[in-house]
């Protein structure tokens, strides 16, 4: 029969590859390939033991000591890319339409490729004969960002010290022109982006000590002194920075890796939502993490018994989704009705605040015990909590029984500020059934422009039959929620005061655990709800401190 051409499937996205029946080979082929792999692995190890690993690859490996468990996934890959020098960097290269090449480690895999590399360097190309005027490069007062295959798709924000050093080292007077179309050499390349007061340009350093300057629609290429190349290489190396991963590396959307857009991004492009549409409100509330990088505020959350007596938790919080740092200090108050919310004298207060925090690597909790604080590995970075499409947020059946209650992104911050920024209780529990709620309009609440929602359930759900909810239009986070029982009594409330985002947000506080004993806890979580070794669903203390990938699920 006529062959069906399935070439359309070439270069497919991951999700499509996952759908395809996998490639397969007979046993003999598999054995042969495994044997080849082992041989090449031995060669790589021998090269490494001889010290033939590139200086840059070594230095990037050195960053490992700073790595956090979850970032490790992404940057472990980056480290692999540093060693093997390829794809992601290549992707960035292609996007920028400036073909670069592979690291020498890759070339070492086959002599054939080594030969190709040897004949493919710009160093063999003569400099252009016409002497062009050297560009004036002064980066001392600009914003500077780096991108390299070793850590793509993260970008590196240069420190002030490095910037001054680099500015002094870039002596463009001694640059000599090179044909901009000369072949690009194999080897590591570094992209430096300079904001230049709104007239951005980029500078790409290649292994043959040439740099390509691109900006304002023009491109030129120059030979630079070895000292300049060295300074750029050093500045582009995360190992040169203290706390590089938490303070200098930012994940960015690959489509924004260009001289104009790289400044804007700190997160993937978020879906535009129509906040007059139920579907979009529901989507945005479940994907709030796409709509801001940093946030801070004070959450007042509580509830009342029939007697009117109630409790209220007041939580000051700051979160930074890029660095996976967060802080929340929760104080608990008890009292009657309006006395409680106004925090007057009749209200009693727990003598210990509960502090929850993340430092990008560990989650910490203090206050539950008077003399200890817990330290739990397993922080999740935003890159590992991808956007959840609308279809996956919806129940699989009409009776809502098959909804995956854990299929949301709320686990990222381990429950910190969950009632505001990842308000799954509203988004999942109350808004799932679109017939049960209505959009009433928009209203400014506590300084935020909100969409007002009102809903009614057939029966009381968690003591609430009716609710009114104010959702921040810009981010999808909860600003205010009141829940009433069937008699119209206020049973639950959430109010978020002083809510700020991004540049206006307060910096993340660092908790002071001085005088407290550290207790390391290793949670063992499965796919969804907490599952421990004893089956109780409660994290157990353990001596094994190896990091885990799955984050602690909040128990709200």
């Amino acid at each position: 029969m006529k062959k069906i051409d399935l070439g359309i499937l070439d270069n497919a996205d991951d999700d499509i590859i996952e759908k395809l029946p996998p490639f397969s080979s007979d046993e003999e082929t598999r054995k042969r390939v495994l044997s080849m792999s082992e041989k090449k692995f031995d060669e790589l190890m021998n090269e490494k033991n001889k010290g033939n690993v590139s200086e840059y690859a070594e230095s990037v490996s050195g960053v490992e000591k700073y790595r956090r468990p979850v970032w490790h996934k992404a940057l472990g890959v980056a480290a692999a890319v540093a060693l093997i020098a390829g794809g992601i960097g290549t992707a960035a290269v292609i996007k920028n339409k400036s073909p670069k090449s592979s690291d020498s480690m890759l070339a070492a895999l086959t002599t054939e490729e080594q030969n190709i590399a040897a004949t493919d360097t710009a160093a063999t190309t003569d400099a252009v004969s016409v002497q062009a005027a050297a560009p004036v490069i002064d980066i001392s007062n600009d914003e500077v960002r780096f991108m390299a295959a070793a850590y793509a798709p993260y970008l590196l924000d240069i420190s002030a010290d490095q910037q001054q050093k680099l500015a002094a080292a870039i002596n463009s007077d001694s640059w000599t022109p090179c044909d901009v179309n000369a072949p690009l050499p194999d080897g590591e390349a570094f992209n430096m982006y300079v904001y230049n007061n709104g007239a951005p340009y980029s500078l790409t350093l290649y292994g043959d000590n040439t740099v390509k300057l691109e900006g304002m629609g023009e491109a030129t290429r120059w030979y630079v002194p070895a000292e300049t190349a060295k300074a750029i290489t050093e500045a582009a190396n995360p190992a040169a920075y203290e706390n590089a991963i938490s303070d200098h590396l930012t994940w960015c959307d690959i489509s924004s890796i260009n001289v104009n857009d790289i400044w804007k991004n700190t997160r993937a492009g978020a879906k535009e939502c129509d906040m007059t549409d139920k579907k979009d409100i529901f989507y945005k509330m479940n994907n709030t993490l796409d709509y801001f990088d940093r946030a801070s505020g004070v959450i007042k959350r509580g509830g009342f018994e029939l007697s009117g007596y109630g409790s209220m938790a007041v939580s000051e919080f700051q979160v930074d989704l890029n660095t996976a740092k967060a802080y929340e200090c929760e104080e608990n108050y008890y009292g009657f009705s309006t006395h409680l919310t106004s925090l007057d004298e009749s209200v009693t207060k727990d003598d210990t605040a509960i502090i929850s925090s993340q430092d990008g690597e560990y989650c910490y909790t203090a206050g539950i015990s008077k003399d200890t604080y817990s330290k739990i590995p397993g922080v999740v970075h935003r890159i590992d909590t991808p956007t959840v499409p609308f279809e996956e947020l919806r129940p699989k059946d009409d009776s809502f029984n098959e909804y995956d209650n854990w299929n949301s992104r709320r686990q990222m911050l381990g429950g910190i500020a969950v009632d505001c920024i990842e308000n799954y209780r509203m988004a999942v529990d109350y808004l799932q059934d679109f017939d049960k709620w209505d959009i009433i309009g928009t209203q400014e609440v506590l300084g935020r422009n909100c969409v007002r929602i009102e809903g009614t359930y057939d029966v009381e759900y968690d003591a609430v039959k009716k609710f009114e909810l104010y959702v921040d239009i810009e981010t999808g986070v909860t600003v205010w929620m009141n829940g009433y029982d069937s008699e119209g009594r206020l049973k639950r409330f959430t109010v978020v005061e002083n809510l700020k985002f991004d540049d206006e947000a307060e910096p993340v506080k660092t908790p002071d655990f001085t005088g407290l004993e550290e207790k390391q806890i290793v949670p063992h979580y499965g796919d969804g709800a907490p599952v421990s070794t004893d089956g109780n669903g409660i994290p157990q203390e353990a001596t094994d401190t190896s990091p885990v990938t799955d984050p602690p699920a909040d128990n709200n």
């Binding site: 029969m1 062959k3 069906i4 399935l6 070439g7 359309i8 499937l9 070439d10 270069n11 497919a12 996205d13 499509i16 590859i17 759908k19 395809l20 029946p21 996998p22 490639f23 397969s24 007979d26 598999r30 042969r32 390939v33 495994l34 080849m36 792999s37 041989k39 692995f41 790589l44 490494k48 490992e64 490790h72 996934k73 472990g76 890959v77 480290a79 692999a80 890319v81 060693l83 093997i84 020098a85 390829g86 794809g87 290549t90 992707a91 292609i94 996007k95 339409k97 592979s102 890759l106 895999l109 086959t110 054939e112 190709i116 493919d120 690959i254 489509s255 190896s546 885990v548 990938t549």
Partner: protein
């Protein structure tokens, strides 16, 4: 096998850890490699590339253990290596690697975003149509028309008789055409 399990086995026996990881991910890596090299690589090049991928994975894991699910890590290394191999092969065959070459269409530019979206959508539909054939027909179709295996090779993989495979290739091929047509896709547009 996740990262912790690999590390644990690695402590006992590196060779065993390599073998188990290879066995578990060989098909997955092969799928990614073929997906990138199918039009340019001979079978030997594909095998060479797969072995490169595993060598790099083993090498990287020596210094940088991965925690949790390793699939993403493995997929990234496989993709990177495949793209590099593609470039290498392109140079060998003196094929100009245009930045707009459809071999790189997995990485979209702003300019062709719409076309890229259409292509992705088409890929999804085709993948869905193949899945809808059910087993073993979906495997037979993909092995035959995408991985270019012979009926004998497919028979070996599926423990079927070559004649049975040939029969199923014909029938499944017709079903696939019908499924695509039902979704409004003509074969020539693939």
């Amino acid at each position: 096998m996740n990262g912790e399990e690999y590390s644990s086995i690695r402590k006992r026996s590196r060779e065993e850890a390599h073998r188990l990881l290879f066995e578990e991910y060989y098909n997955y890596v092969g799928t990614i490699v073929v997906n990138h090299l199918r039009n340019i690589a001979a079978a030997e090049d594909t095998e060479e590339c797969i072995s490169d991928v595993f060598a790099k994975i083993f090498f990287s894991l020596e210094e940088h253990p991965v925690t949790g699910d390793m699939r993403k890590f493995i997929a990234t290394v496989a993709k990177c290596t495949s793209i590099d191999r593609f470039r290498s092969l392109s140079r060998r065959f003196e094929k100009s690697v245009s930045l707009d070459d459809e071999q790189f269409s997995g990485i979209s530019s702003d300019d062709d975003l719409e076309a890229e979206n259409e292509r992705c959508e088409l890929q999804r539909i085709v993948a869905d149509c193949i899945s809808s054939l059910g087993e073993p027909d979906s495997t037979i179709v993909i092995q035959k028309f995408y991985y270019n295996k012979t009926s004998r090779q497919i028979a070996g993989l599926l423990s079927m008789k070559p004649s049975a495979v040939r029969m199923r290739v014909k029938r499944a091929g017709e079903q696939l055409r019908a499924a695509l047509a039902e979704r409004g896709i003509k074969e020539e547009s693939l």
